[in-house]
């Protein structure tokens, strides 16, 4: 296999990623302006006069035609500036988003890991036993896990494990809003879990880990179901191939036939599912979970605030925070694009024919 092909293929996919991100910006920009909203009311204080609003609107260029605003915004983005947030006291958007990302990514990564570790073996076993009892059970499980609303599941888990059994904390990182006043964590990566581990703060680490058990379970259930479904169908397809018959004809152990010869062939769609699970669980998936379990700072919190439905630092809500929305869309878009790119690279690693 020549590596030139693989390299060229990946460069092509990376360029496509840039196009995808520009598309995301464009669509998000115009869609967010479909709803009439003027973010300056987030700045204008209480009971502003129409003159004050008009002055602020002009000051921030919001009275320019939409396409001019779009071009200004694009130029700004390409110089690495995502603008300022009106709902978070004019803080720059990029640092705001980036500082919430590590915690949400930790949640997403743990949920994805759980989905892989639990979902793939269950999917393979299900594929081996097509039509039998175990398979039916798995199908019921995967359909119901995909259908179950996350916020409901989160509440039920809180009720069982925190309220009735009292073995896990109810909400917040470390189990209490005041946790970090008592156990400060030095920022290294921005993820509480990882930072407490890196700084050797084990008591804090355990407390934070415990407070993340229920959120991660809540977040992982849907991906686990998805992973079982995907692994089952893709391994089933592989098991019916000639090379599996060959492996069996050569006395290869059933375990090796299933988990090596069939699974490696079945991997490409499983990798895509895992990558999208990670992207989803780290960004959009955390919206409900961070709300139900009161986990802040996080991307989910920020997303809600930007649409004027959450509590912002100024306590005023009800208007769209355009630049924060766009900034989040760009970051989420890039996140998805990178996840896809990694999935592409992994697929080639496992099956060289793809890059031919």
């Amino acid at each position: 296999m020549n590596d030139l092909n693989v390299g060229a293929y990946l460069v092509k996919r990376a360029l496509l990623t840039v196009v995808v991100v520009i598309g995301t910006i464009t669509i998000t920009f115009f869609l967010s302006h479909v709803v009439p909203s003027n973010p300056v009311i987030l700045l204008a204080g209480q009971n502003p006069t129409p003159e004050q609003i008009a002055r602020l609107t002009h000051e921030y260029g919001l009275d320019e035609p939409l396409y001019v605003q779009f071009l200004i915004y694009l130029r700004q983005v390409f110089s690495g500036n995502l603008g300022i947030s009106f709902s978070f006291s004019l803080q720059p958007v990029l640092p705001l988003v980036l500082q919430t990302l590590p915690n949400s990514m930790t949640l997403g990564a743990l949920a994805t890991l759980l989905a892989i570790v639990v979902g793939i073996p269950l999917g393979v076993e299900s594929a081996r036993r097509t039509g039998r009892k175990f398979d039916s059970l798995m199908r019921i499980f995967s359909v119901s896990s995909v259908a179950l609303p996350q916020f409901w599941l989160g509440l039920i888990l809180q009720l069982i494990f925190a309220v009735y059994l009292g073995i896990l904390p109810n909400a917040s990182y470390g189990g209490s809003l005041l946790f970090f006043d008592m156990h400060p964590v030095k920022t290294v990566t921005g993820s509480y879990l990882i930072d407490s581990l890196l700084t050797g703060n084990f008591v804090t680490f355990v407390a934070i880990a415990k407070s993340m058990v229920l959120p991660v379970l809540t977040l992982a259930l849907y991906p686990i179901g998805l992973m079982i479904k995907q692994t089952r169908s893709s391994v089933m397809a592989a098991l019916s191939q000639d090379y599996i018959r060959t492996a069996r004809a050569y006395g290869i152990k059933e375990r090796e036939v299933n988990y090596r010869f069939a699974l490696k062939n079945a991997l490409p769609p499983i990798i895509v599912t895992a990558a999208l699970t990670f992207a989803y669980s780290s960004t959009l998936g955390v919206i409900y979970v961070e709300e139900v379990f009161n986990l802040a700072p996080g991307l989910g919190f920020l997303l809600r605030s930007s649409t004027g439905t959450g509590i912002s630092s100024t306590g005023i809500s009800g208007a769209l925070d355009y630049q924060l929305i766009l900034g989040l869309a760009i970051v989420v878009g890039i996140f998805y694009a990178i996840a896809n790119l990694v999935a592409d690279a992994l697929q080639i690693y496992f099956d060289r024919r793809i890059a031919r």
Partner: protein
Amino acid sequence: MEPLLEIKDLRLVFSTERGILDLFQGLSLSLMSREVLGIVGESGSGKSTLAYTIIKLLPGNARILSGKVLLEGRDILSMKEEELRRIRGKEITMVFQDPSTSLNPVFRIKDQMLTVVKENLGLQGEVARKRALELLKQVELPDPESIMNSFPFELSGGMQQRVMIAMALAANPKLIVADEPTSSVDATIQTQILSLLKKLKAERDFSLILITHSIAVAKEVSDRIAVMYAGEIVELGKVETVIEKHLHPYTEALLKSIPRPRGKSEMKRMLPVVPGQVPDLISPPSGCRFHPRCPYAMDICKAERPPYFNKDGSLVMCWLYSEER
């Protein structure tokens, strides 16, 4: 001398959506040590199913109603999975029809060869690798080192088939079952593969069952030929006898359909084919299954399944050879 492989009164059906497909209605066959048996028949005659019955690797809808497949006296059909696994790849191995789909596309040749060598010879590490390289040399593959590092899709069809044969040889099996090993490669490669099989056969001690739709291919390597039609072995005998003194009307039709180089005037003529079609075995013809296509069909052919008659050292399942006639 006791036969290496003995199939005794095998009855096998498939359950299909349209009903029960009655394939083998009491099939018997035996194979001696070091013997090469060619099994010839049209597609749908059950020759591949017979191959998979021998290692009990049948599709899920196949059901064995009765019969035995004895390998040196041990009944394969009544073996447990684990026992079977110990026979597959060690005592009996297979070469498949289409090497491009029968080799695993996402593993390098070395991973596939080494798995087979390790599993079936119990070798490890460098010893296993040396053994794999040696096998690739024996099937006359140039530059075995680079073949080992290739993926199947980087090799030609002929090379892939040689790799399959190398895997089949790995554990010094008693029996190799080759299911249409040359039907997916072109004529030149076909000749090469056949002469390779002949050479290997001369060097080693295995028996070979060669399954093919081409009586010409079977003639090349076989000691005996079994002609199959609609789940029955209709004629079984030494290669020369079957080719020169064929008995069954179906064998006659098959022999006529071998394309031969002819004069220019004859080139335009259509290739002779066996008239009619393989019967639908969900509702098989009564009596002899060949009677609807047989030019010599008699009344008894429709009424009764013929037994085997012994003639010129061959066995033939045809009423034409009944003594009482």
